[in-house]
Symmetry: C5
Subunit: 329 residues, 5 copies
């Protein structure tokens, strides 16, 4: 799908411009011409990008193929920029999808290309009629508004992750369960995916804010600088979330380890207390004792029986005291 | 709440200045005008910052929103600076709260904005009447005094953490307990939080000490350099605390591991010593022996009984000797 | 084996040129002369490289010896460049072989030297007759086409590894098996091997795209830049694969650890439940009880028997309840 | 305590100079005036440093407060330098104490300030009468001699640590004991403390050797460069000691782990061998068998008895063979 | 031992030159004068180095003391360079010895100083008569030949280590044994030692290849660059060997862990299967049952006996099925 609009100061907005009229709009140096390719087949897009806009074939190739990392290429008359939008794939908020947004930015045009709908683009599209800030300051300012929204969309995702990490952190010392392990690894995977996007994105904004690009008005750089600062904060936040998560994982493993220790200690105590007295009962259970037991007088028998009971009761008591001394129990 | 004062050399201090008179004080190039916003609602603050001081909207946005990392932005006539104060949240001193302090520094004014009371601000506020060093050397020196106090407030917190780490370190080899694990992870979390503040804060001071900002008098840079040195020391200290803590955690895990080894060894020794002799008693407990035992002559029976006793006593003795040889016990 | 061709604009392609005619082709500044050494014995190759092309002995030595890491040396009139092709050694796709490709690039010639057939070279060789893009833009563009194909050949390998990692990741929480360990270490080894190639290769392309080499036409740099971008993406991909793999390994070990915990718990529960009641049966199995049991009246005997049954049934029930309280079971 | 001396070429050494004469000595541009504050109360030292030498208050503050990391501040007419001396606290040589040495270096004076006696200072003090190299080449050369001795004093400490690590390394595979763990962590702590000193100290010397300080004669820089090289070696040495130590710790844990494995295997073997035959003896110990056993004929009884003996002897033998096959034993 | 030779173009080689004639040879700007100190006592060497060659005392000190890390110092008229030769200490090829080689390189002389014989020096010494490349291109080229041989001597050692690592890697999944642990740690130690040499050595060669030293002819730099490339390769190789080794260590620990898991599982299965049935035999072994058993009729007794046998046989069967369901066995 191709959407277009052109804004010329003093005139009405033109929308749904046919392809053959693109050139005339491109030739108007005061206009703001936006073409948005949404899931458009490659041949049709390529024809326009190469044929009408006359972008370099390598840049067009980059735009039509997927999975680029964010970057900005200066082609003189225009910039080719790759951004990434984040979207959540599953309901649990931990499966991160990355949607690529390719942008060509010229003196009087913006071309955007993406395969999936991106909320920031939709918002810009629906605001051009109502919010003059989107169109009154030239293509670089329009781009700023789009990127600003795109980066703002990162926050809910980050906050979801942050909440999850807080929850896991709270649970780990009070209620560590094997199921938390899978959750923590899903969180880690999501954080790795997000950080992999934010770092190069930040560099793109840094270049837009600092480099002397022809098509970026020097007074607009401060706005890109602002987005850059947001990305720095996001980066710091994900860093600290990673630290917290990795600390929580270590804590989880230590808690599990401690618990295992506890289990081993109880096993050892049980074994240590019962093995000797089970042996004693076995000893007196041997058939050698049948005649002996039978041969004992009544009172001697009772005395021996009570002595044995004392031994059986005393052995674990003595061992338990000894274990207490070694601070085991 | 808005607090203000204005100091003009040779005049009395003016305090509690109404908003409409701000402009006249701002126009006095020799004055020192301080406006402090403490938990002031955003609309009212924004009106003053944008309307009267005419700060850039992006800078005002940054100041009114929370959770920025420390930074300094040069806007020509004024600097926008973000600092962080540290406060302890809970009684145990391990739950660190970070309070943001936004500062606008101009040639003749300082504007501070924060949502929670910050001791360094309160101290400056109560000192302006008594300690001339706060107001006699211009706004940059006033800022220096505030930041100096703000950074000095980090020390008690660091010392609390340091003492805790020393305590844990002492305990770990003599008295390792599972409860120490949670303590160590709380310490680690506090250290991570503090280091995340100190590093960018240090860079802010570095820039104030080195960069050629219009509003910072060159002879005042040496003072910011001094705070920078303090932050370098704090950074080194937290680094070495982190090293110690991570070493202590490793030591804790190793001690726990050793102890588990010990437990396993005792379990194995008990099992190894008692299993064979329990088997022997079981063997002679079988009913096959009833007739045999009964059929033995008295003296043969006694001899067999004593032989069996010797076997029962000898087996563990032999095994114990064997284990000693393998340096197990 | 030596293959040669020479293309002069406006003439037919010359192929299979005898060695003695090399000099005349080299002297034609408008020609494109390609010599490809495939597994040629060193003395014969050295004679040509040193004698006819007059390359520096150190460069020739480098080319004839194996196992160099990618690099580019500027010798003024020509560049000496080392690339690496990746090939799979075993059917499982995890045993990576690295084949070196040495290239000398001059104003009107390309010399390639390799010990094993490299698909990118074969493809270029078979395309020179049919695809004019290979030969129409000079030796640097021919080199670009070769390297582009060579780097494109990395993708299937990377995708195989990616698929494997995905599979292992899916399995680790549902079906962790010791065999997966060997697989994960093989994947890790393959990733280490690939990253070791990609990083210096990327630097080579970076220099070809940026440095002001005499023999690289400035308008061709953008093409090398494009390959550089591909290598950056490959590098990022292998980085993220490494992260995922190392996370998966940690997860595997944690899952195994959890399972061991489970096993230990069951062992302890079994031991804890049965040891006491086994002791009780032993206790009442002692021969002391024979006379006692025989001396009991019928109804007293039954009562004692039932009491004992209750004790035997009650002990584990009580213990199990106690374990449940400690959230063990 | 304050010690002073002043050397003027051609004159005798003046020592124990009263405070009020300091100014006159300071005004002699050809003299070499050394003031050493050893554990002098702060007020008295501050009076001299600020009042007579007119050092900047911030520098004086730094000198009088403790626990600075090594640094060099250029104050134009003089340098303020912080060094650290290492001293051993306990007899075992693993408890490292760090003593701060503050130095002010001017064109014709050296001021040293420290709270504990530092051997390098004592040595310099006792050498000024006998070794002309200390005083003949100006204050920067005197400083060089002091620092050279101070750094030379690091060596015995490093060698003690090195010997300890060698000893632990030798023991770990032959005689690993839990006590070694505490030793290794003490070594690690000592190494961390030393590296934390050496790195910034090295940077101080680097600056003295390279930067163009007014008060350091350019021909003396080569001497500071020499100390810098020593510190580089010390740094490399501590790095390699750290590597060795961390490898030894890993080895220790692996050895302990192996040993635990061994213990577990023996436990399992014992359990596996005895459980079945203990069950058999229990089985034939049941009272059901009393009548059966009694009802058997003599020879049948013997045959059954021998058959049972064979079963009891054969079961462990078969199991042991099976375990051998699985390469367990 | 001191060995000398001097080569003047057009003349014979002079060897075994007496010390007092050194000066005259040094004054010949066209000569190539080589002095080699092999394990010469320090006083005699110092006399020559300081007295005749007039090297700076600090450089002479460095040369006569041992254990420097590789470096190059530019003293204007001459360079002082430290190299390290590697030698194997023990037969197993894993105990690495580092021998220092100090070199002074001037316009017409090379001075080498070492305490142990170094093969590269011996080879150069024996080649000067036969191989003109050693002496025909000045002292910097002679140095190149020596260093080239010295670095070439690293290869056999690296290859030994590489073979060892391959062997361990092959064994770890099929035949992991505790003895391999010690071997792996010895390999790691050797790799650490080698990398510690190669990195600074590489930097020395980098400086010789790039820096504009007076005594290194600009056309000879390309040769030092070649050695630099070799060292880069060596460095990469040791890096990848370290990666492989550390992966192998992880694999070893995981294999051992898996094996322990297996052992624990068998222990648990044995215990789980036998504990209940041992309890049952104990239960029926109690003397309460004697009268009961005796009181049963013959057929009832047989029926009870068979029922009990079924219980005893059925319990483990049921448990085993249950364990299979939980995918334990």
């Amino acid at each position: 799908m191709i959407r277009t609009f052109c804004f010329v100061p003093g005139e009405d907005l033109h929308t749904d411009i046919p392809v053959k009229e693109y050139s005339s709009y491109l030739n108007n140096p005061n206009g703001l011409f936006w073409v948005d390719f949404l899931n458009e087949p490659n041949p049709s897009a390529e024809a326009i990008l190469t044929g009408i806009f006359r972008f370099h074939p390598l840049a067009v190739d980059d735009a039509l193929q997927e999975t680029h990392t964010p970057k900005v290429d200066d082609w003189g008359d225009y910039l080719y920029i790759v951004f990434n939008a984040l979207a959540i794939n599953r309901e649990d908020g931990l499966d991160v999808n990355i949607n690529e947004l390719d942008v060509f930015l010229g003196h009087n045009f913006v071309v955007t290309h993406h395969d999936t709908p991106i909320p920031a683009i939709e918002k810009a599209w629906s605001s051009i009629n109502t919010d003059k800030r989107y169109i009154n300051h030239g293509p670089d300012h329009l781009l700023y508004k789009i990127i600003d929204d795109l980066v703002a969309d990162y926050w809910p995702l980050i906050e979801t992750l942050d909440g999850e990490i807080d929850w896991v952190e709270d649970q780990v010392f009070t209620n560590a369960k094997p199921e938390m392990l899978e959750r923590m690894f899903a969180l880690k995977r999501a954080l790795v995916a997000i950080r992999r996007i934010i770092t190069p994105q930040r560099e793109v904004l840094n270049r837009l804010a600092r480099d002397d690009f022809d098509v970026v008005d020097s007074k607009d750089r401060i706005f890109f600088r602002d987005i850059y600062d947001h990305l720095v904060r996001l980066h710091d936040l994900t860093e600290s979330m990673r630290d917290l998560l990795s600390g929580t994982m270590d804590a989880y493993l230590s808690v599990i380890n401690n618990r295992m220790n506890e289990v081993m200690k109880i096993l050892t105590i049980i074994t240590t207390l019962f093995m000797p007295i089970t042996f004693i009962t076995g000893f007196f259970g041997m058939n050698f004792f049948s005649p002996v037991a039978e041969g004992l007088g009544k009172w001697t028998g009772y005395a021996a029986f009570i002595a044995m009971l004392l031994v059986i009761a005393g052995t674990p008591a003595v061992m338990f005291t000894w274990m207490r001394r070694r601070t085991w129990v």
